[in-house]
Amino acid sequence: MSDSISKETVVKVSRLARLSLTPEQAEKMTSQLAGMLDHFRDIDALDLSDVEPMTQPYPLKNVMREDVEAKSLDRQEVLDQAPAAESGRFRVPPTIGFDV
């Protein structure tokens, strides 16, 4: 675990998260995150090699449902809440620079 987080990493992470940060914001974010991560170093003191990760608070398994159709949401009600819609579909700007 690193002592701090670099501004470079912060910028990279911000791209992954689709958050655009101004240089000042990136600066501030870097120092705040670094401070937190320093604090979180306390768990480095623990020997966790034999510990199973806990992902579920309550041990359920095999929760499934039958293959029975339910009524669709009303398309108009949904599209009325959309930022942009056309011909019964949601409209977005073009996807330049993307993989399919």
Binding site: L16, A70, L73, L79, P94, I96
Partner: protein
């Protein structure tokens, strides 16, 4: 079609296939919206499908059952499994993550057999959900680059998928096509999917690399937009050649995703983002582990139908044809092997039974109208040389048109009767006497002369002479 040997200078091909299959369930993987192709856009939607705030996934039991059928049909081990989130941003991905399976998938370590007893490993077949569909507008090519906007339909978002990942055991483009075809046949046989590549319910991504024997596998490229079995072969052939040419001219193959353009017959780089996507997989906290009980697995296995390969093997054994040959493939694909079995059990000549069905029953479907015993009778007539093969073909057409009938009577009505060997011998002697020149030429080794003799005999017999039998008699007379 092409094989290994079309790559020059000792280059060898390595191919792995990732096939995504839409499951034939009534509802989506994690919600109860209808799973149906072709409906009006955004008419099969719900909070989960749209990734609305507060929506939660619930697993479709029937999707699990169909996925298990696939895994078992591919000889996989079915195991306890979990679901993960694969995080990335794209408008057709409503939650900005796809629920999939990562380190503990449902089915692992299977295989699929190709003709010639070639075994292709199946690494895994796991559950995941499909994305919505985006259509791009504007721009000159209608493709992604340079378009003005996109419209999104989420009907397909959340449709259950099984992703079947092969091991990189495929060595020729022919094998790749066979793999896809066989996989498709299996999917149809177990009722897991309608597997229509043209509708997108079965999609292939092809991974291609080249190397020289004794060296490690080369860098592979993933090819998308391969929309038919034929394209699978063409794309592999093109890409393999492209990579060889690139390497031989001093370049290196870059690990990337490429787009197959069927019209131009080329693969092209898809423009990639600056940063490769980090999917940040983590266990899906809104779902719980899936631990199929052994009794369920056993039940699914027991209910599996006989798979196409096994059916071809059985048919081949019954009828004395090649299990990897066309008649076995075609007849099983049409589902007519049961029918052939019936014909044989009515006394039909096994080999003739399967060949008749292969050649004439294309339109008939799995339950041909012609009663099995009638077809059996016809095969016997030909086997016993009561009719010539030409006459048998005609009677076959009659049978199909009439939907059955008494073949003996039908033959008599047509005035068909094959001449017996004695009569044939006499006709041959007469022809030799009538065409001494042709006979001398034939005896001297001119094979072409045979045709003239046989033709003359057929004409004078008004079709009652069986051409093959006549030829055989002439051949044996020559050697005497």
């Amino acid at each position: 079609m092409s094989d290994n040997t079309t790559l020059p200078n000792g280059w060898q091909l390595v191919v792995g296939l990732e096939v995504h299959v839409e499951l034939a369930t009534k509802t989506k993987m994690f919600s109860a919206s209808t799973n149906r192709f072709g409906d009006e856009p955004n008419t099969n939607i719900d909070p989960v499908t749209l990734g609305l705030p507060g929506a939660l996934p619930v697993l479709n039991k029937h999707a699990v059952e169909l996925a298990m059928r696939i895994g078992l049909a591919l000889n996989c081990k079915v195991q306890p499994c979990t679901f993960h989130r694969k995080n990335y941003f794209y408008p057709d991905l409503p939650k900005a993550y796809q629920i999939t399976q990562y380190d503990h998938p449902l089915n692992v370590d299977g295989f699929l057999m190709l003709p010639g007893d070639v075994r292709i490993g199946v690494e895994r077949a796991h559950l995941e959900e499909d994305t919505g569909k985006s259509t791009h507008f504007g721009g000159s090519s209608g493709r992604i680059h340079g378009s003005d906007y996109s419209l999104l339909d989420y009907n397909r978002a959340g449709v259950p998928l099984v992703e079947i990942v092969s091991r990189p055991d495929i060595r020729t483009s022919e094998q790749a096509r066979q793999y896809v075809a066989e996989l498709r046949a299996i999917l149809l046989a177990v009722g897991a999917s309608d597997a229509k590549m043209e509708e997108g319910s079965m999609r292939c991504d092809v991974n291609v690399s080249v190397h020289k024997a004794g060296t490690p596998f080369g860098t592979r490229c993933e090819i998308k937009n391969v929309n038919s079995i034929r394209s699978v072969g063409r794309a592999i052939d093109y890409e393999a050649r492209r990579q060889v040419d690139l390497i031989e001219s001093g370049g290196t193959v870059r690990q990337e995703t490429r787009h197959w353009d069927d019209a131009t017959g080329r693969t092209e780089t898809l423009r990639t983002k600056e940063d490769a996507d980090d999917y940040r997989y983590f266990l899906e906290p809104d779902l719980v582990p899936l631990v199929p009980e052994q009794s369920w697995i056993d039940q699914v296995r027991a209910a599996l139908p006989v798979l196409p390969a096994a059916r071809r093997n059985a048919l081949a054994e019954l009828c004395g044809v090649d299990k990897d040959g066309e008649s076995a493939f075609v007849v099983v694909e049409r589902g007519q092997d049961e029918y052939v079995r019936e014909v044989v059990s009515c006394g039909g000549d096994p080999r003739r039974s399967v060949i008749y069905v292969q050649q004439a029953f294309a339109e008939q479907g799995p339950t041909p109208k012609v009663p099995a015993r009638d077809l059996a009778a016809l095969t016997i007539l030909e086997r016993d040389a009561k009719v010539t093969s030409t006459q048998a073909k005609t009677l076959l057409t009659d049978l199909i048109e009439a939907g059955g009938g008494d073949v003996v009577a039908m033959a008599a009505k047509r005035g068909f009767e094959a001449l017996d060997t004695g009569a044939l011998e006499a006709m041959v002697d007469a022809a030799i006497a009538a065409e001494p020149g042709a006979w001398q030429k034939y005896c001297a080794g001119e094979e072409k002369a045979l045709g003239a003799l046989v033709g003359a005999i057929m004409k004078s017999s008004k079709g009652k002479a069986d051409g093959k039998a006549v030829t055989a008699i002439l051949q044996s007379k020559r050697t005497k």
